[in-house]
Symmetry: C2
């Protein structure tokens, strides 16, 4: 008989927006993530955060404000689960980094709970169902329902999330031998703030231009056409408004592109930035370049080179 | 030796916007088009419209206002052609119909001139070069450079036009066994007017939503996924603003969708409307339904059922 005490899930960081697809496109990242351990709570319907550890501890334990517990509460409510859950979160994703930390905790929680109820013999939820629950968690953090971190964190890889009802995830083909360089400067940007500074209106001309870049980029992914990806991987709406939150952004961007990156933009709501580049050697070189340029601004940073096809949240162990 | 007196080109009508891709996406139509005959003019650098016939005769002959001659003037200027051209246009596309008539005349002219200079032994222009010239013609008609009629009319099929410099055409795969039902009510909408009523700003939320439909639609085309095309083939920005120009638009839309069409929207700037539907039988049925509903409004109309893979402009004969 399986041990049903608890399930631990690793939920990866993710890069949202991907320059061209504000609030709809993202991809999972390899090796960085949150670990969420879910066990049964004796009180049905109750969700309790019992421990927050790892590199971030200042996030709310209050169940109504924590993305993991909000996601689990939605799971219990929507699917009338006859359970309560205790949650331990080990944060591996820096807070306010634009690397999808709040989404990862929410996704980790629902994936762990789903594995737990499976062990208990209950019917499990589909990936689409888990998406809806995790989105309710994400809403607590960002104030808006958008799935561009939750989607890729849940299913892995380059993921498009459509605002159908219910929201729907689609996998897009990632170009071959292209890596993501993700650089996290030691700054903090609140998602709510980064959303708050965005103008609520977009000029029609800009909106049309951006739609062309998005359409060309997706076509480039399906055709594995790096030249097309290079010429379309741009953000003319969001990046110009948020770049000021990241010291030296345009200098780094210009340098990284001149070194051969396919594209460079802000990861989610920042301050992390990312590039796509062909081959691991160039990617490592670009990571170093970006870190040096942040250093020039007096900002320390960490960098990772990761494939675009990293898997989504998965059960890590079953202690 | 070939006869180099003149070349006649058939340039097809086209459906621009295709619901999801305002100003960037379009496809060519089978069997409806303009015929443009180009011959050498004795005066170098001169472009003269000598005849306009067919179903439309009230378009300007003045070379600076006619899309065909403006396109040819651009061709002579950009490529320093040592020629002048005389142009006869036989219009098969109704004026102000939203079926890409001005683009067709411009494209027909440059394709015919290109075939003519080939006969004369001059180096010919590439399709991309012809695109730039035809766009200059289209600009005269609509007051803006947008390639969503010119692109598909030139290369045929479902075509994405990117605002790179120079602009670039991409072919998208059309879903199998899907037809376009194109319905032209006997009303006239000036492109300039239909553009003029558009708000210059779009709410960010709408722009984001529309980008999701576009991304999903393109994914659906690449995957030949009709269900995905059905759930994403929408226009939440332009159609709501222009629908009022077309009496009974929403009634027709609802009816056509309830009969099984994959999508329904305005063709270009209207008043023509179009649907995509699976199979020829359903498409014919939808054509009839739409015509009957226009008739209920006291509006006569014509309808065509056409494949999504109709060829672009081609030399018709060489009299």
């Amino acid at each position: 008989m399986k041990n049903t005490n608890s399930v631990t899930v690793f939920a990866p960081a993710s890069v949202a927006n991907v320059a061209v697809g504000f609030d709809i496109l993202g991809f999972s990242v390899d090796g960085i993530g949150d670990e969420v351990t879910v066990s049964l709570h004796e009180e049905k319907g109750r969700v309790e955060i019992t421990e927050i550890s790892g590199i971030v501890t200042e996030i709310p334990k209050d169940s109504s404000k924590n993305t993991a517990s909000a996601a689990l509460a939605a799971m219990i409510e929507y699917h009338r689960l006859p359970y309560g859950f205790s949650v331990r979160i080990k944060k591996g994703i820096p807070l306010g980094s634009g690397m999808g930390g709040s989404a990862a905790s929410a996704v980790g929680a629902v994936v762990a709970a789903n594995a737990l109820i499976k062990q208990l013999g209950s019917p499990t939820l589909s990936l689409e169902d888990l998406l809806q629950c995790a989105l309710q968690g994400e809403k607590v953090a960002s104030g808006a329902i958008h799935g561009d971190n939750v989607g890729p964190c849940l299913q892995g890889g380059l993921t498009l999330v459509l605002p159908t009802e219910p929201m729907k995830m689609l996998s897009l083909p990632a170009p071959e031998n292209v890596f993501c360089v993700l650089v996290h400067p030691d700054l903090k940007v609140e998602t709510r703030h980064a959303r708050g500074i965005l103008k609520r209106e977009v000029p029609l001309l800009k909106s049309t231009e951006q739609s062309a870049w998005l359409a060309g980029f997706i076509t480039g992914c399906f055709r594995n056409d790096l030249s097309l990806i290079r010429s379309t991987m741009k953000d003319v709406i969001i990046e110009p408004q948020r770049a000021a939150l990241i010291p030296g952004f345009f200098e780094i961007k210009n340098e990284v592109l001149s070194r051969g990156a396919l594209g460079f933009s802000i990861s989610g709501s920042g301050p992390s930035v990312f590039a796509w580049a062909e081959g691991k050697t160039l990617s490592e070189h670009i990571a170093q370049t970006a870190r040096q340029l942040f250093q020039k601004q007096g900002i320390t940073s960490q960098a990772w080179v990761t494939p675009l096809t990293a898997p989504g949240a998965r059960v890590k162990n079953n202690p």
